[in-house]
Amino acid sequence: MTDSGTAVFLSELGRALPAIGEGLLVTLEATALGAALALLVAFALGLASRSRLLVVRGAARAVVEFLRGTSLYVQLFWLFFALPMLGFRLDPMACGVLAFGLNYGAYGAEVVRGAIAAVPAAQTEAAIALGMGPVLRLRRVVLPQAYALMVPPFKNLLIQLLKATPLLSLVTVADLTFRIDQLRSATGGTAAAYLLLLLLYFALAALLGAGMNALERRAKARLGVVSGPGGRGGPRAVRAVPRAGRAGGGA
């Protein structure tokens, strides 16, 4: 970029700042709503896929496989372009939130299912021995322990969800990518605009990651596991008691 090109870009950037700020808010809104829906879907499908009833389990598995096996891009386009032809017109943002929630919810369902399965069976047995019924066992014993195992994979999914939100700009939502793209068109500063965009997403991802790391530390502290995120405090360290013959848990 020439000096005059830089000057043009910077002055256009200054003028576009409010719009970029709005785009940033839209991106954050889509991420937050998408993640909230994904969390609901993840627990619903994750718990259903552990049901004792074959029909419930089978249906949950089928939905998860379908949602994971079809592209998020195509799902979003289907909601935005195909659904109106069937008589349902959703607001573009709603299409995005729905697509993110279903797609990442399906991945999250696997996280929920796996985390619950990773809580030692002995914990459930101890709860049974105390007369706790299935709902109480899940709510008071299994989920609180599974939660600590869910946070790290949920962190990854949340950051992936954030990075998927630029798809919104393809269905007319004025998100961060959309606004920066406008800046690029206005200035011709393609390299600078997209570099800015990279840095903004990187900063957002870092912020979300830091928040999730704090949640992870808190969850582990409650289980009596002292180890930072990314440390060796994986599933094995969560076990309260090292099992004989399977020694060497992470703690």
Binding site: A122, Q123, E125, A126, I128, A129, L130, G131, M132, G133, P134, L136, R140, V141, P144, Q145, A148, R222, L223, G224, V225, V238, R239, A240, V241, R243, A244
Partner: protein, 263 residues
């Protein structure tokens, strides 16, 4: 034993109970009666089905064949239909009956996401529906009984194995069980921690009339608390009798060899 079985005076009765895991038969048509307040210790080589008996009573396993009775009524099964034929028990049948039974595990199995006090409070509070203060008072009494009154805020993983097991005993007692199952409760402990746990259990045995079924390799303890010791082998009771007789003058060669090997 079926021969000395008095109706109405039984806490537990196994009626021809068979348990198979795959093609492995762990219990083979077992008959067993435990009287109210009786302390019975099960000994025998590993894999002889002792722990399975406890797990069947705690409903952690289901019988393959036969019926387990508790308090004179079917426990593993329930009457169904006009004929009252016995069918495997459902959760509704088991839930109220299971509350009268407590179990202490080899690996303690304390809840790692709760403090020591919360571990003991949990079931009285949420299963029996006691209010918070009442449940906490009951829990503190029991933590005092097991000598851990000063550890109520501690995290379970910060305690020694012996302390964890004592919390587990307090946790089981907090439900005021009529039948207490002790599954090799000192087997996972370092040798120097065994005594503190057994002392607590001796106290419990001396100060309550809880029926106790105990699987252990601690013969001194078994001798102290047991009314009767059963020697298991191959899913059946090989012989049974009061501790002095069974430990000091066993009839069967296998019992002699087993007792010699662990004392």
């Amino acid at each position: 034993m079926p021969s000395d079985h008095v109706p109405g005076a039984e806490k537990v009765r196994f009626d021809r109970v068979t348990k198979r895991f795959g093609d492995q038969t762990v219990l083979d048509g077992l008959d067993l009666t435990v009287a109210p307040g009786e302390r019975v210790t099960l000994i025998g080589p590993s894999g002889s089905g002792k722990t399975t008996i406890l797990r069947l009573l705690m409903t952690l396993e289901r019988v393959t064949d036969g019926v387990v009775h508790v308090d004179g009524e079917p426990f593993s099964h329930m009457p169904s239909g006009p004929g009252g034929a016995l069918v495997p028990a459902d959760e509704r049948h088991l839930a109220p009956r299971r509350r009268r039974i407590g179990m202490v595990f080899q690996q303690f199995n304390l809840f790692p996401h709760m403090s020591v006090l919360a571990n003991v409070v949990e079931a009285p509070r949420h299963v029996l529906g006691l209010d918070g203060d009442e449940a906490a008072a009951r829990a503190r009494d029991l933590l005092g009984l097991v000598g851990l009154a000063d550890k109520e805020d501690a995290h379970p993983t910060r305690l020694s194995g012996g302390q964890q097991q004592r919390v587990a005993i307090a946790r089981a007692l907090a439900m005021r069980p009529e039948l207490l199952l002790l599954d090799e409760v000192t087997s996972a402990l370092d040798p120097e921690l065994v005594a503190e746990v057994l002392d607590v259990l001796r106290d419990v045995a001396d100060s309550t009339d809880i029926t106790m079924l105990c699987v252990t390799h601690e013969m001194g303890f078994a001798r102290d608390i047991s009314d009767r010791i059963l020697m298991f082998d191959g899913g059946r009771v090989l012989e049974s009798g009061p501790p002095e007789r069974l430990l000091d003058a066993p009839e069967h060669e296998r019992t002699q060899a087993f007792v010699r090997s662990i004392t």
